[in-house]
Protein backbone atom coordinates (compact mmCIF):
# COMPACT_ATOMS: atom_id res chain seq x y z
CA UNK A 1 0.00 0.00 0.00
CA UNK A 2 2.78 2.39 0.90
CA UNK A 3 4.62 1.75 -2.35
CA UNK A 4 1.39 2.26 -4.27
CA UNK A 5 0.86 5.66 -2.69
CA UNK A 6 4.50 6.53 -3.29
CA UNK A 7 4.25 5.44 -6.93
CA UNK A 8 1.13 7.52 -7.50
CA UNK A 9 2.81 10.44 -5.81
CA UNK A 10 5.82 10.05 -8.11
CA UNK A 11 3.73 9.96 -11.26
CA UNK A 12 1.66 13.04 -10.48
CA UNK A 13 1.74 14.57 -14.01
CA UNK A 14 0.22 11.40 -15.45
CA UNK A 15 -2.18 10.66 -12.59
CA UNK A 16 -3.40 14.23 -12.40
CA UNK A 17 -4.13 14.43 -16.12
CA UNK A 18 -5.98 11.09 -15.95
CA UNK A 19 -8.13 12.38 -13.08
CA UNK A 20 -8.83 15.60 -14.97
CA UNK A 21 -9.80 13.62 -18.05
CA UNK A 22 -12.21 11.47 -16.04
CA UNK A 23 -13.73 14.48 -14.29
CA UNK A 24 -14.18 16.24 -17.63
CA UNK A 25 -15.88 13.12 -19.00
CA UNK A 26 -18.28 13.02 -16.04
CA UNK A 27 -19.07 16.71 -16.40
CA UNK A 28 -19.77 16.21 -20.09
CA UNK A 29 -22.04 13.28 -19.34
CA UNK A 30 -23.96 15.08 -16.59
CA UNK A 31 -26.10 17.19 -18.90
CA UNK A 32 -26.39 19.13 -22.11
CA UNK A 33 -24.43 22.27 -22.92
CA UNK A 34 -21.42 21.48 -20.78
CA UNK A 35 -18.85 21.86 -23.57
CA UNK A 36 -17.48 25.14 -22.23
CA UNK A 37 -16.97 23.68 -18.75
CA UNK A 38 -15.26 20.63 -20.21
CA UNK A 39 -13.01 22.89 -22.25
CA UNK A 40 -11.87 24.89 -19.23
CA UNK A 41 -11.34 21.80 -17.08
CA UNK A 42 -9.22 20.21 -19.81
CA UNK A 43 -7.25 23.39 -20.31
CA UNK A 44 -6.46 23.76 -16.60
CA UNK A 45 -5.55 20.06 -16.45
CA UNK A 46 -3.00 20.32 -19.23
CA UNK A 47 -1.44 23.42 -17.71
CA UNK A 48 -1.20 21.75 -14.28
CA UNK A 49 0.31 18.63 -15.81
CA UNK A 50 2.82 20.76 -17.73
CA UNK A 51 3.93 22.49 -14.55
CA UNK A 52 4.19 19.19 -12.64
CA UNK A 53 6.23 17.68 -15.47
CA UNK A 54 8.55 20.68 -15.40
CA UNK A 55 9.01 20.35 -11.64
CA UNK A 56 9.84 16.65 -11.86
CA UNK A 57 12.40 17.18 -14.63
CA UNK A 58 15.41 16.59 -12.40
CA UNK A 59 14.22 13.52 -10.52
CA UNK A 60 14.17 10.45 -12.66
CA UNK A 61 12.93 7.23 -11.09
CA UNK A 62 11.01 4.11 -11.97
CA UNK A 63 7.55 3.49 -10.53
CA UNK A 64 4.94 0.72 -10.49
CA UNK A 65 7.35 -2.24 -10.45
CA UNK A 66 9.61 -0.90 -13.19
CA UNK A 67 6.75 -0.31 -15.57
CA UNK A 68 6.83 3.47 -15.76
CA UNK A 69 9.62 5.99 -15.66
CA UNK A 70 8.85 9.32 -14.07
CA UNK A 71 10.73 12.58 -14.35
CA UNK A 72 13.64 13.24 -16.68
CA UNK A 73 13.01 11.85 -20.16
CA UNK A 74 9.32 11.21 -19.47
CA UNK A 75 8.86 14.65 -17.94
CA UNK A 76 10.54 16.38 -20.88
CA UNK A 77 8.19 14.66 -23.28
CA UNK A 78 5.31 15.23 -20.89
CA UNK A 79 5.94 18.95 -21.31
CA UNK A 80 5.87 18.60 -25.09
CA UNK A 81 2.63 16.59 -25.06
CA UNK A 82 0.79 18.82 -22.62
CA UNK A 83 1.91 21.92 -24.52
CA UNK A 84 0.72 20.35 -27.74
CA UNK A 85 -2.61 19.33 -26.18
CA UNK A 86 -2.99 22.82 -24.72
CA UNK A 87 -2.45 24.45 -28.10
CA UNK A 88 -4.80 21.99 -29.78
CA UNK A 89 -7.54 22.63 -27.22
CA UNK A 90 -7.31 26.37 -27.77
CA UNK A 91 -7.33 26.06 -31.56
CA UNK A 92 -10.17 23.52 -31.48
CA UNK A 93 -12.50 25.77 -29.54
CA UNK A 94 -12.72 28.51 -32.13
CA UNK A 95 -12.57 26.00 -34.99
CA UNK A 96 -15.48 23.93 -33.68
CA UNK A 97 -17.52 26.99 -32.81
CA UNK A 98 -17.13 28.29 -36.32
CA UNK A 99 -18.45 24.98 -37.66
CA UNK A 100 -21.22 24.88 -34.99
CA UNK A 101 -20.15 21.40 -33.90
CA UNK A 102 -18.74 22.09 -30.47
CA UNK A 103 -19.01 19.03 -28.26
CA UNK A 104 -17.35 18.29 -24.95
CA UNK A 105 -16.17 14.83 -26.00
CA UNK A 106 -13.75 16.43 -28.42
CA UNK A 107 -11.78 18.05 -25.59
CA UNK A 108 -11.93 14.94 -23.42
CA UNK A 109 -10.52 12.84 -26.24
CA UNK A 110 -7.64 15.29 -26.69
CA UNK A 111 -6.82 14.95 -22.99
CA UNK A 112 -6.95 11.13 -23.12
CA UNK A 113 -4.78 11.10 -26.24
CA UNK A 114 -2.24 13.20 -24.32
CA UNK A 115 -2.37 10.64 -21.49
CA UNK A 116 -1.60 7.88 -23.99
CA UNK A 117 1.33 9.89 -25.29
CA UNK A 118 2.69 10.39 -21.78
CA UNK A 119 2.43 6.64 -21.18
CA UNK A 120 4.42 6.04 -24.37
CA UNK A 121 7.21 8.33 -23.23
CA UNK A 122 7.22 6.95 -19.67
CA UNK A 123 7.14 3.31 -20.70
CA UNK A 124 10.07 1.18 -19.61
CA UNK A 125 8.17 -2.00 -20.37
CA UNK A 126 6.81 -3.13 -23.70
CA UNK A 127 3.35 -3.74 -22.19
CA UNK A 128 2.99 -0.13 -21.10
CA UNK A 129 4.37 0.99 -24.45
CA UNK A 130 1.66 -0.99 -26.22
CA UNK A 131 -1.07 0.35 -23.95
CA UNK A 132 0.12 3.93 -24.40
CA UNK A 133 0.15 3.62 -28.18
CA UNK A 134 -3.37 2.20 -28.14
CA UNK A 135 -4.81 4.76 -25.73
CA UNK A 136 -3.45 7.49 -27.97
CA UNK A 137 -4.44 5.88 -31.28
CA UNK A 138 -7.99 4.97 -30.30
CA UNK A 139 -8.66 8.58 -29.24
CA UNK A 140 -7.15 9.83 -32.48
CA UNK A 141 -9.25 7.53 -34.68
CA UNK A 142 -12.32 9.19 -33.20
CA UNK A 143 -10.92 12.71 -33.37
CA UNK A 144 -9.94 12.35 -37.02
CA UNK A 145 -13.46 11.29 -37.97
CA UNK A 146 -15.15 13.63 -35.53
CA UNK A 147 -17.03 15.66 -38.18
CA UNK A 148 -18.94 12.53 -39.03
CA UNK A 149 -21.33 14.02 -41.54
CA UNK A 150 -18.38 14.94 -43.74
CA UNK A 151 -17.32 12.32 -46.25
CA UNK A 152 -13.63 13.28 -46.27
CA UNK A 153 -13.55 12.96 -42.47
CA UNK A 154 -15.12 9.47 -42.66
CA UNK A 155 -12.68 8.44 -45.29
CA UNK A 156 -9.57 9.63 -43.53
CA UNK A 157 -10.76 8.12 -40.23
CA UNK A 158 -11.33 4.75 -41.89
CA UNK A 159 -7.93 4.80 -43.59
CA UNK A 160 -6.20 5.82 -40.39
CA UNK A 161 -8.06 3.22 -38.39
CA UNK A 162 -7.48 0.27 -40.73
CA UNK A 163 -3.81 1.04 -41.26
CA UNK A 164 -3.32 1.87 -37.58
CA UNK A 165 -4.90 -1.39 -36.43
CA UNK A 166 -2.89 -3.26 -39.06
CA UNK A 167 0.32 -1.80 -37.61
CA UNK A 168 -0.82 -2.71 -34.11
CA UNK A 169 -0.69 -6.31 -35.30
CA UNK A 170 2.95 -5.87 -36.32
CA UNK A 171 3.80 -4.07 -33.11
CA UNK A 172 2.31 -6.87 -31.03
CA UNK A 173 3.94 -9.62 -33.03
CA UNK A 174 7.25 -7.82 -32.58
CA UNK A 175 6.67 -7.55 -28.83
CA UNK A 176 5.70 -11.24 -28.66
CA UNK A 177 8.85 -12.36 -30.47
CA UNK A 178 11.09 -10.18 -28.32
CA UNK A 179 9.36 -11.48 -25.21
CA UNK A 180 9.91 -15.02 -26.44
CA UNK A 181 13.64 -14.58 -27.04
CA UNK A 182 14.46 -12.42 -24.02
CA UNK A 183 11.96 -13.91 -21.59
CA UNK A 184 10.84 -10.52 -20.34
CA UNK A 185 9.18 -7.37 -21.61
CA UNK A 186 11.08 -4.94 -19.39
CA UNK A 187 13.51 -2.58 -21.12
CA UNK A 188 16.14 -3.28 -18.50
CA UNK A 189 16.03 -7.04 -19.11
CA UNK A 190 16.03 -6.53 -22.89
CA UNK A 191 18.99 -4.19 -22.63
CA UNK A 192 20.92 -6.70 -20.53
CA UNK A 193 20.13 -9.57 -22.89
CA UNK A 194 20.70 -7.59 -26.08
CA UNK A 195 24.34 -8.58 -26.80
CA UNK A 196 23.42 -12.26 -26.45
CA UNK A 197 20.20 -12.28 -28.46
CA UNK A 198 20.89 -9.57 -31.02
CA UNK A 199 21.85 -12.10 -33.69
CA UNK A 200 19.02 -14.55 -33.14
CA UNK A 201 16.67 -14.59 -36.12
CA UNK A 202 13.52 -14.47 -33.99
CA UNK A 203 14.76 -11.44 -32.10
CA UNK A 204 15.76 -9.66 -35.30
CA UNK A 205 12.37 -10.44 -36.80
CA UNK A 206 10.73 -8.96 -33.71
CA UNK A 207 12.91 -5.85 -33.85
CA UNK A 208 12.13 -5.47 -37.57
CA UNK A 209 8.40 -5.64 -36.77
CA UNK A 210 8.90 -2.86 -34.22
CA UNK A 211 10.73 -0.78 -36.84
CA UNK A 212 7.71 -1.22 -39.15
CA UNK A 213 5.25 -0.26 -36.42
CA UNK A 214 7.17 2.82 -35.32
CA UNK A 215 7.87 3.91 -38.89
CA UNK A 216 4.14 3.88 -39.44
CA UNK A 217 3.48 5.91 -36.31
CA UNK A 218 6.09 8.56 -37.15
CA UNK A 219 4.97 8.52 -40.83
CA UNK A 220 8.33 7.52 -42.30
CA UNK A 221 8.74 6.17 -45.84
CA UNK A 222 7.72 3.48 -46.88
CA UNK A 223 4.92 3.50 -44.28
CA UNK A 224 3.88 7.10 -44.83
CA UNK A 225 0.97 6.65 -47.26
CA UNK A 226 -1.70 7.32 -44.67
CA UNK A 227 -0.33 10.68 -43.53
CA UNK A 228 -1.37 13.03 -46.38
CA UNK A 229 -4.90 11.60 -46.56
CA UNK A 230 -5.45 11.64 -42.82
CA UNK A 231 -3.92 15.09 -42.38
CA UNK A 232 -6.14 16.46 -45.12
CA UNK A 233 -9.39 14.91 -43.92
CA UNK A 234 -9.00 15.55 -40.19
CA UNK A 235 -10.18 18.78 -38.54
CA UNK A 236 -7.24 21.22 -38.82
CA UNK A 237 -6.52 21.48 -35.06
CA UNK A 238 -6.36 17.66 -34.94
CA UNK A 239 -3.97 17.69 -37.88
CA UNK A 240 -1.83 20.04 -35.81
CA UNK A 241 -2.10 17.66 -32.85
CA UNK A 242 -1.17 14.63 -34.93
CA UNK A 243 1.80 16.26 -36.57
CA UNK A 244 3.16 17.49 -33.22
CA UNK A 245 2.04 15.48 -30.19
CA UNK A 246 1.56 12.16 -31.93
CA UNK A 247 4.80 12.46 -33.81
CA UNK A 248 6.68 13.40 -30.66
CA UNK A 249 5.10 10.47 -28.79
CA UNK A 250 6.01 8.02 -31.53
CA UNK A 251 9.58 9.30 -31.51
CA UNK A 252 9.70 9.15 -27.71
CA UNK A 253 8.80 5.46 -27.90
CA UNK A 254 11.10 4.86 -30.87
CA UNK A 255 14.06 6.41 -29.04
CA UNK A 256 13.12 4.69 -25.79
CA UNK A 257 13.13 1.25 -27.38
CA UNK A 258 15.91 1.56 -29.94
CA UNK A 259 18.36 3.69 -27.97
CA UNK A 260 17.25 2.74 -24.45
CA UNK A 261 16.44 -0.96 -24.60
CA UNK A 262 18.51 -1.91 -27.66
CA UNK A 263 22.06 -0.80 -28.42
CA UNK A 264 21.77 -0.38 -32.15
CA UNK A 265 24.93 1.65 -32.87
CA UNK A 266 26.64 0.23 -35.93
CA UNK A 267 24.21 -2.69 -36.27
CA UNK A 268 22.00 -3.80 -39.17
CA UNK A 269 19.03 -2.17 -37.45
CA UNK A 270 20.78 1.18 -37.55
CA UNK A 271 21.38 0.73 -41.30
CA UNK A 272 17.72 -0.06 -41.91
CA UNK A 273 16.68 3.05 -40.00
CA UNK A 274 19.22 5.13 -41.95
CA UNK A 275 17.69 3.93 -45.23
CA UNK A 276 14.17 4.79 -44.01
CA UNK A 277 15.48 8.23 -42.99
CA UNK A 278 17.02 8.87 -46.40
CA UNK A 279 13.88 7.72 -48.23
CA UNK A 280 11.65 9.88 -46.01
CA UNK A 281 13.74 12.98 -46.58
CA UNK A 282 13.83 12.51 -50.34
CA UNK A 283 10.23 11.44 -50.96
CA UNK A 284 8.73 13.79 -48.38
CA UNK A 285 10.46 16.86 -49.74
CA UNK A 286 10.12 16.06 -53.44
CA UNK A 287 6.43 15.16 -53.31
CA UNK A 288 5.66 18.20 -51.14
CA UNK A 289 6.70 20.44 -54.05
CA UNK A 290 3.85 19.22 -56.23
CA UNK A 291 1.09 19.71 -53.62
CA UNK A 292 -1.42 22.51 -53.95
CA UNK A 293 -3.36 21.84 -50.73
CA UNK A 294 -1.47 23.30 -47.78
CA UNK A 295 -2.52 20.59 -45.33
CA UNK A 296 -1.18 17.96 -47.72
CA UNK A 297 1.96 19.99 -48.26
CA UNK A 298 2.56 20.14 -44.52
CA UNK A 299 1.82 16.40 -44.31
CA UNK A 300 4.63 15.65 -46.76
CA UNK A 301 6.81 18.13 -44.95
CA UNK A 302 6.12 16.25 -41.72
CA UNK A 303 7.23 13.04 -43.47
CA UNK A 304 10.46 14.81 -44.40
CA UNK A 305 10.92 16.02 -40.83
CA UNK A 306 10.42 12.45 -39.60
CA UNK A 307 13.31 11.57 -41.92
CA UNK A 308 15.58 14.23 -40.39
CA UNK A 309 14.82 12.95 -36.91
CA UNK A 310 15.28 9.31 -37.92
CA UNK A 311 18.83 10.13 -38.97
CA UNK A 312 19.39 11.09 -35.33
CA UNK A 313 18.14 7.66 -34.22
CA UNK A 314 20.23 5.75 -36.74
CA UNK A 315 23.31 7.71 -35.60
CA UNK A 316 22.57 6.30 -32.12
CA UNK A 317 24.88 8.65 -30.25
CA UNK A 318 24.44 11.32 -27.64
CA UNK A 319 24.28 14.16 -30.14
CA UNK A 320 21.59 12.31 -32.06
CA UNK A 321 19.40 11.92 -29.02
CA UNK A 322 19.88 15.53 -27.92
CA UNK A 323 19.09 16.56 -31.48
CA UNK A 324 15.85 14.58 -31.59
CA UNK A 325 14.67 15.98 -28.25
CA UNK A 326 15.48 19.54 -29.33
CA UNK A 327 13.97 18.97 -32.74
CA UNK A 328 10.70 17.61 -31.33
CA UNK A 329 10.30 20.43 -28.82
CA UNK A 330 10.77 23.13 -31.46
CA UNK A 331 8.96 21.27 -34.23
CA UNK A 332 5.92 21.08 -31.95
CA UNK A 333 5.93 24.85 -31.57
CA UNK A 334 6.38 25.68 -35.23
CA UNK A 335 3.94 23.16 -36.65
CA UNK A 336 1.28 23.98 -34.09
CA UNK A 337 1.67 27.64 -35.01
CA UNK A 338 1.58 27.03 -38.76
CA UNK A 339 -1.55 24.90 -38.54
CA UNK A 340 -3.05 27.47 -36.17
CA UNK A 341 -2.82 30.22 -38.79
CA UNK A 342 -4.08 27.80 -41.44
CA UNK A 343 -7.12 26.99 -39.32
CA UNK A 344 -8.05 30.69 -39.10
CA UNK A 345 -7.87 31.25 -42.83
CA UNK A 346 -9.65 28.01 -43.67
CA UNK A 347 -13.37 28.25 -44.30
CA UNK A 348 -16.26 25.83 -44.19
CA UNK A 349 -16.23 22.89 -46.60
CA UNK A 350 -12.44 22.79 -46.62
CA UNK A 351 -11.97 25.83 -48.83
CA UNK A 352 -9.19 28.43 -48.65
CA UNK A 353 -6.53 25.81 -48.15
CA UNK A 354 -4.45 26.22 -51.30
CA UNK A 355 -1.42 28.39 -52.05
CA UNK A 356 -3.47 30.75 -54.21
CA UNK A 357 -5.82 31.52 -51.34
CA UNK A 358 -2.94 33.30 -49.60
CA UNK A 359 -2.27 35.88 -52.32
CA UNK A 360 -2.04 39.31 -50.76
CA UNK A 361 -2.43 38.00 -47.21
CA UNK A 362 0.30 40.30 -45.87
CA UNK A 363 -1.51 43.43 -47.04
CA UNK A 364 -4.74 42.45 -45.26
CA UNK A 365 -3.32 40.74 -42.17
CA UNK A 366 0.31 41.86 -41.80
CA UNK A 367 0.76 40.40 -38.31
CA UNK A 368 -0.69 36.97 -39.11
CA UNK A 369 1.37 36.84 -42.30
CA UNK A 370 4.50 37.64 -40.29
CA UNK A 371 3.67 34.89 -37.78
CA UNK A 372 3.13 32.32 -40.51
CA UNK A 373 6.37 33.40 -42.19
CA UNK A 374 8.33 32.84 -38.97
CA UNK A 375 6.95 29.30 -38.72
CA UNK A 376 7.68 28.57 -42.38
CA UNK A 377 11.24 29.92 -42.19
CA UNK A 378 11.79 27.81 -39.10
CA UNK A 379 10.39 24.69 -40.78
CA UNK A 380 12.72 25.34 -43.70
CA UNK A 381 15.61 25.42 -41.24
CA UNK A 382 16.79 28.96 -41.89
CA UNK A 383 18.75 30.60 -39.06
CA UNK A 384 18.15 32.28 -36.64
CA UNK A 385 14.96 30.26 -36.15
CA UNK A 386 14.81 27.14 -33.97
CA UNK A 387 14.35 24.75 -36.90
CA UNK A 388 17.93 25.41 -37.97
CA UNK A 389 19.49 24.07 -34.78
CA UNK A 390 17.28 20.98 -34.77
CA UNK A 391 18.61 20.04 -38.19
CA UNK A 392 22.14 21.04 -37.26
CA UNK A 393 22.18 18.68 -34.25
CA UNK A 394 20.78 15.63 -36.04
CA UNK A 395 23.07 16.07 -39.06
CA UNK A 396 26.05 16.61 -36.77
CA UNK A 397 25.13 13.36 -35.03
CA UNK A 398 24.96 11.56 -38.38
CA UNK A 399 28.42 12.83 -39.37
CA UNK A 400 29.88 11.74 -36.03
CA UNK A 401 28.43 8.26 -36.52
CA UNK A 402 30.12 7.95 -39.95
CA UNK A 403 26.83 8.42 -41.75
CA UNK A 404 28.06 11.41 -43.73
CA UNK A 405 26.05 10.36 -46.79
CA UNK A 406 22.89 10.64 -44.71
CA UNK A 407 23.79 14.14 -43.56
CA UNK A 408 24.51 15.15 -47.18
CA UNK A 409 21.10 13.87 -48.32
CA UNK A 410 19.57 15.75 -45.39
CA UNK A 411 21.20 19.05 -46.29
CA UNK A 412 20.40 18.72 -49.99
CA UNK A 413 16.74 17.84 -49.38
CA UNK A 414 16.47 20.74 -46.90
CA UNK A 415 17.44 23.01 -49.75
CA UNK A 416 14.63 21.50 -51.81
CA UNK A 417 12.21 22.11 -48.95
CA UNK A 418 13.00 25.83 -48.94
CA UNK A 419 11.24 26.04 -52.30
CA UNK A 420 7.79 25.02 -51.12
CA UNK A 421 7.92 26.79 -47.78
CA UNK A 422 9.02 30.06 -49.33
CA UNK A 423 6.50 29.70 -52.12
CA UNK A 424 3.81 30.37 -49.53
CA UNK A 425 5.75 33.34 -48.14
CA UNK A 426 6.09 34.69 -51.70
CA UNK A 427 2.35 34.27 -52.17
CA UNK A 428 1.58 36.23 -49.05
CA UNK A 429 3.99 39.08 -49.68
CA UNK A 430 4.49 39.50 -53.40
CA UNK A 431 1.27 38.37 -55.08
CA UNK A 432 -1.58 40.84 -55.33
CA UNK A 433 -4.85 39.52 -53.93
CA UNK A 434 -7.33 39.94 -51.13
CA UNK A 435 -6.69 36.92 -48.89
CA UNK A 436 -7.85 37.52 -45.34
CA UNK A 437 -9.50 35.78 -42.41
CA UNK A 438 -13.27 35.46 -42.23
CA UNK A 439 -13.38 36.53 -38.60
CA UNK A 440 -10.50 37.55 -36.35
CA UNK A 441 -9.01 34.63 -34.40
CA UNK A 442 -10.12 34.13 -30.81
CA UNK A 443 -7.97 36.11 -28.42
CA UNK A 444 -6.51 33.16 -26.55
CA UNK A 445 -5.64 31.27 -29.70
CA UNK A 446 -4.00 34.39 -31.06
CA UNK A 447 -1.91 34.85 -27.92
CA UNK A 448 -0.92 31.17 -27.90
CA UNK A 449 0.27 31.23 -31.51
CA UNK A 450 2.14 34.49 -30.94
CA UNK A 451 3.89 32.93 -27.94
CA UNK A 452 4.82 29.93 -30.09
CA UNK A 453 6.40 32.29 -32.63
CA UNK A 454 8.34 34.12 -29.91
CA UNK A 455 9.61 30.80 -28.53
CA UNK A 456 10.65 29.64 -32.01
CA UNK A 457 12.83 32.74 -32.32
CA UNK A 458 14.06 32.49 -28.72
CA UNK A 459 15.10 28.82 -29.00
CA UNK A 460 16.74 29.64 -32.31
CA UNK A 461 18.94 32.24 -30.67
CA UNK A 462 19.46 30.37 -27.38
CA UNK A 463 19.22 26.65 -28.22
CA UNK A 464 21.04 25.89 -24.96
CA UNK A 465 17.79 26.67 -23.10
CA UNK A 466 16.47 23.28 -24.23
CA UNK A 467 19.74 21.43 -24.67
CA UNK A 468 20.73 22.06 -21.05
CA UNK A 469 17.41 20.61 -19.89
CA UNK A 470 18.03 17.39 -21.79
CA UNK A 471 21.59 16.77 -20.57
CA UNK A 472 20.60 15.04 -17.36
CA UNK A 473 18.55 12.16 -18.61
CA UNK A 474 19.68 10.93 -22.01
CA UNK A 475 19.37 7.22 -22.72
CA UNK A 476 22.90 6.99 -24.07
Amino acid sequence: METLVADIWRSTPLVLLTLVGLIALLVEGSGKGRAAAVYWISLVGTIASFVLSFLSLNTEEAAFNDMILQGGYAAFFGMIFTASAFGTLILSRSYLRRLHTERGEFYVLIVFAAIGMMLMASAIDLIILFLGIEVMSICLYVLVGFLRTKLTANESALKYFLLGAFTTGFLLYGIALIYGTVGSTSFRAISAAFPAVSNQPLFLLGAAMLVIAFSFKVAAVPFHMWAPDVYEGAPTPITAFMSTGTKAAAFAAFVGVFLGAFQIAGSKLSEVIALAAAASMIIGNVVAISQSNLKRMLAYSSIAHAGYMLSGISAANREGETGILFYLATYTLMNLGAFGVLSWVEQKDDTKLTFDDYAGFSAQQPFLAALLSIFLFSLAGIPPFAGFFGKYYVFLAAVKADLTWLAIIGVLTSVVSVYYYLRLVMMMYFQPGGATVEEPPAQMAFIAVTCAAILVVLFGIYPSLIVDLTKEFLNI
Binding site: F130, N154, S156, L158, F161, L162, G169, A176, G183
Partner: protein, 99 residues
Protein backbone atom coordinates in the same frame (compact mmCIF):
# COMPACT_ATOMS: atom_id res chain seq x y z
CA UNK B 1 3.67 -30.65 -28.49
CA UNK B 2 6.70 -28.53 -29.02
CA UNK B 3 7.00 -24.77 -28.98
CA UNK B 4 7.79 -24.71 -32.70
CA UNK B 5 4.40 -26.18 -33.61
CA UNK B 6 2.57 -23.36 -31.91
CA UNK B 7 4.86 -20.72 -33.32
CA UNK B 8 4.42 -22.11 -36.80
CA UNK B 9 0.64 -22.18 -36.46
CA UNK B 10 0.51 -18.60 -35.21
CA UNK B 11 2.93 -17.41 -37.91
CA UNK B 12 0.73 -19.00 -40.58
CA UNK B 13 -2.40 -17.42 -39.07
CA UNK B 14 -0.64 -14.07 -38.88
CA UNK B 15 0.33 -14.26 -42.54
CA UNK B 16 -3.23 -15.22 -43.53
CA UNK B 17 -4.36 -12.09 -41.67
CA UNK B 18 -1.80 -9.88 -43.43
CA UNK B 19 -2.76 -11.26 -46.84
CA UNK B 20 -6.43 -10.71 -45.99
CA UNK B 21 -5.80 -7.06 -45.14
CA UNK B 22 -3.85 -6.46 -48.33
CA UNK B 23 -6.02 -8.46 -50.74
CA UNK B 24 -9.64 -8.00 -49.65
CA UNK B 25 -11.58 -4.85 -50.50
CA UNK B 26 -14.48 -5.07 -48.05
CA UNK B 27 -13.78 -2.94 -44.96
CA UNK B 28 -15.47 -5.44 -42.63
CA UNK B 29 -13.42 -8.35 -43.95
CA UNK B 30 -10.23 -6.30 -43.73
CA UNK B 31 -11.13 -5.59 -40.14
CA UNK B 32 -11.74 -9.29 -39.46
CA UNK B 33 -8.32 -10.07 -40.92
CA UNK B 34 -6.77 -7.58 -38.50
CA UNK B 35 -8.51 -9.37 -35.63
CA UNK B 36 -7.05 -12.61 -36.93
CA UNK B 37 -3.57 -11.05 -36.78
CA UNK B 38 -4.11 -9.94 -33.19
CA UNK B 39 -5.32 -13.38 -32.17
CA UNK B 40 -2.38 -15.10 -33.79
CA UNK B 41 -0.18 -12.84 -31.68
CA UNK B 42 -2.12 -13.97 -28.62
CA UNK B 43 -1.35 -17.56 -29.51
CA UNK B 44 2.35 -16.72 -29.84
CA UNK B 45 2.30 -15.00 -26.47
CA UNK B 46 0.56 -17.85 -24.70
CA UNK B 47 2.91 -20.40 -26.28
CA UNK B 48 6.00 -18.46 -25.19
CA UNK B 49 4.48 -17.90 -21.78
CA UNK B 50 3.91 -21.62 -21.23
CA UNK B 51 7.33 -22.47 -22.62
CA UNK B 52 9.17 -19.94 -20.45
CA UNK B 53 7.04 -20.66 -17.38
CA UNK B 54 6.53 -16.92 -17.05
CA UNK B 55 3.16 -15.26 -16.58
CA UNK B 56 3.89 -11.92 -18.28
CA UNK B 57 2.88 -13.22 -21.69
CA UNK B 58 -0.53 -14.33 -20.49
CA UNK B 59 -1.05 -10.99 -18.79
CA UNK B 60 -0.27 -9.24 -22.05
CA UNK B 61 -2.88 -11.40 -23.79
CA UNK B 62 -5.57 -9.95 -21.54
CA UNK B 63 -4.48 -6.44 -22.43
CA UNK B 64 -4.51 -7.32 -26.12
CA UNK B 65 -8.04 -8.69 -25.85
CA UNK B 66 -9.24 -5.55 -24.07
CA UNK B 67 -7.63 -3.27 -26.61
CA UNK B 68 -9.00 -5.35 -29.49
CA UNK B 69 -12.50 -4.95 -28.06
CA UNK B 70 -12.07 -1.17 -27.82
CA UNK B 71 -10.70 -1.07 -31.35
CA UNK B 72 -13.64 -3.10 -32.62
CA UNK B 73 -16.07 -0.61 -31.09
CA UNK B 74 -14.33 2.37 -32.67
CA UNK B 75 -13.73 0.64 -35.99
CA UNK B 76 -17.32 -0.47 -36.47
CA UNK B 77 -18.52 3.01 -35.50
CA UNK B 78 -16.29 4.55 -38.16
CA UNK B 79 -17.49 2.04 -40.75
CA UNK B 80 -21.14 2.77 -39.88
CA UNK B 81 -20.55 6.55 -40.13
CA UNK B 82 -19.04 6.02 -43.55
CA UNK B 83 -21.84 3.71 -44.65
CA UNK B 84 -24.45 6.30 -43.70
CA UNK B 85 -22.81 8.86 -45.95
CA UNK B 86 -21.82 6.72 -48.84
CA UNK B 87 -23.81 3.44 -48.73
CA UNK B 88 -20.70 1.35 -49.34
CA UNK B 89 -17.98 -0.40 -47.38
CA UNK B 90 -15.89 -1.26 -50.42
CA UNK B 91 -12.45 0.26 -50.03
CA UNK B 92 -12.07 0.80 -53.79
CA UNK B 93 -15.04 3.19 -53.75
CA UNK B 94 -13.55 5.25 -50.95
CA UNK B 95 -11.27 7.49 -52.94
CA UNK B 96 -11.96 11.19 -52.59
CA UNK B 97 -8.59 11.64 -50.99
CA UNK B 98 -5.86 10.40 -53.26
CA UNK B 99 -3.70 7.64 -51.77
Amino acid sequence: MELQTYLLLSAVTFIIGVVGVLARRNAIIVFMSIELMLNSVNLTLVAFSAYLGDVTGQMLVFFVMTVAAAEAAIGLAIIIALFRNKQTVNLDDINILKW
